[in-house]
């Protein structure tokens, strides 16, 4: 029970922090800051959902996977809204033009559309029908990693470390999947 409550509250910490940073501490470049915090939180949470099945043998958190995944989607929604409301200032033509024009933007956009689909079909009644498509999350993880790298002007050491963690996790996942396939 406490564990469930903790898992429910912890993913909200970045949002509380972001609200504080933007409204009270008044960071210099709020739009950019919202992108950074919501984007990195979404990536971490989405990675975590795939990580849960990896550690299932030692700690079984599978029943929280949907909730953490939905939190990941929630942060990606905030990320998208930041683009639509503050960056594009509600101009749909700007959103469409940028999405068609710039790889950096359409990688994010494709990922977001997949996540919308996954969030909707995560409802119990739909999940049984659509769960196989939830493997699209791996596509999302690859796309958002590229999107994240493209958001930087150059990579610093901390970002290399971040990238390394992502690659190792994805590698482990694929390795595990392969084993499962071979074992039938």
């Amino acid at each position: 029970m406490i564990r469930a409550a903790g898992l429910f509250v912890i993913p909200l910490i970045p949002l509380v922090y972001l609200t504080y940073a933007v409204m009270i501490a008044q960071v210099n470049d709020p739009i950019k800051y919202i992108y950074s915090i919501t984007g990195s939180t979404a990536i971490v949470l989405l990675l975590l959902t795939t990580f849960l099945s990896l550690i299932k043998k030692y700690m079984n958190f599978i029943k929280y996977r949907r909730m953490i995944g939905l939190y990941g989607f929630f942060y990606s929604l905030l990320h998208f809204l930041n683009f639509y409301v503050f960056d594009a200032e509600f101009k749909l033509d700007f959103v469409i033009k940028e999405s068609l024009d710039k790889p950096f933007v359409y990688l994010g956009m494709i990922s977001f559309i997949i996540l919308v689909f996954m969030a909707i079909t995560s409802k119990k009644t739909l999940y049984s029908k659509y769960y196989k498509y939830h493997r699209l999350l791996y596509v999302v993880l690859v796309l958002v990693t590229v999107h994240f790298v493209m958001a930087q002007k150059s990579l610093s050491i901390i970002q290399w470390v971040y990238l390394l963690v992502i690659i190792i996790l994805l590698g482990l996942k694929f390795y595990q999947k392969k084993n499962v396939l071979f074992k039938g």
């Binding site: 739009i31 950019k32 503050f86 940028e98 950096f104 933007v105 002007k153």
Partner: protein, 316 residues
């Protein structure tokens, strides 16, 4: 009806000592109110530095809305320390801008080296309130203090075949931690920038040694930096240690790192997008709503003629 004069007893009279104490207390209160407002004033002053430079003020004729000292000194791109704009301020204490010599060489009558303080003494300083637009899409307005680069060029006496000016940031791994990170460095060092001679001679082009009336903070490129207000911020190279006159277009750091995205000119242009993001608007520091970016960052009148034969879509 009987008027009942209350009898004043000895107990009702405030003892003199207490009476005085009360007066003192009231005085103290009044003093506290005064002190409070002067403290507020002091605090407000504290947000802006005490001026330590003599310079001619800019009357700000276009009525630009200045960014605060705190904004200008807390959000800096200075990859020699870190790629995090928020962390530069804290990390830049190793810069040591007082022990600094500047070399002027290349195609000049006589190359020379000068201590930074001796160089600055040669020029009278003036304030220039300029828009500053970063290629990343954020912007601010900065009251720089400095002197025109043209004056320095006259002092350097370039030869007639000098067509470009090349600038270099100091290379010193002790002072700039990212320079010692080898393959993990965020960019190539030393940082290099360049201007065409006519751009360098333009009266807008400034060698800045201060802002808000005070010597430059380390994070803003102490002790001396370039300011080219109609170009993206990365052209305005910080902490310069060498100025070379040359007949070849210098290969600037960002062009070298990514020629598809960054060129030699880097003129602010709302009509030519960065491959990854739009340049039509900018995020003014501290504001939630974007504003339109102006052609040549609002300095079209002063600089457009220099580029009339240049395809601005091609020469980014």
């Amino acid at each position: 009806m009987r008027l009942n004069h209350p009898k004043i007893t000895q107990n009702d009279i405030t003892p003199e000592e207490l009476f005085n104490k009360r007066r003192r207390f009231l005085k103290l209160g009044a003093a506290a109110v005064v002190a409070n407002s002067s403290i507020v004033e002091l605090l407000a002053k504290d947000k802006y530095p005490t001026s330590n430079l003599n310079y001619i003020k800019d009357s700000n004729p276009s009525d630009l809305d200045l960014s605060t000292f705190d904004q200008i000194t807390s959000y800096n791109n200075f990859y020699e320390f870190t790629t995090s704009k928020e962390k530069v301020k804290k990390l830049s204490h190793t810069l040591n801008p007082n022990a600094w010599t500047i070399t002027i060489d290349g195609l000049v009558e006589k190359p020379f080296q000068l201590d930074i303080s001796d160089l600055i003494k040669k020029f009278s300083l003036e304030e220039r309130i300029y828009r500053f637009r970063c290629v990343e899409g954020w912007s601010m307005v900065v009251p720089w203090v400095g002197f025109e680069l043209a004056k320095l060029i006259k002092l350097a006496k370039p030869l007639s075949d000098a067509k470009y000016v090349r600038f270099e940031t100091l290379y010193d791994e002790e002072r700039f931690p990212d320079q010692s990170r080898g393959v993990f460095s965020s960019i190539d060092y030393p940082y290099v920038e360049g201007l065409r001679m006519d751009e360098a001679m333009n009266p807008l082009t400034l060698m800045s040694v201060g802002l808000y009336g005070k010597t430059l903070e380390n994070q803003n490129g102490a002790p001396i930096r370039l300011v080219v207000p109609w170009k993206y911020g990365f052209k305005s190279i910080k902490s310069i240690s060498k100025i070379t006159f040359t007949n070849e277009e210098p290969l600037n750091t960002w062009q070298k790192a990514n020629p598809r995205e960054y060129g030699f000119y880097a003129n602010v242009n709302p009509n030519v997008d960065h491959p990854r993001w739009s340049q039509a608007k900018e995020r003014v520091l501290g504001k939630f709503f974007k504003q339109k970016t102006l052609m040549f960052n609002g300095y079209e009148k002063e600089v457009a003629s220099m580029y009339k034969n240049l395809d601005l879509k091609k020469f980014i």
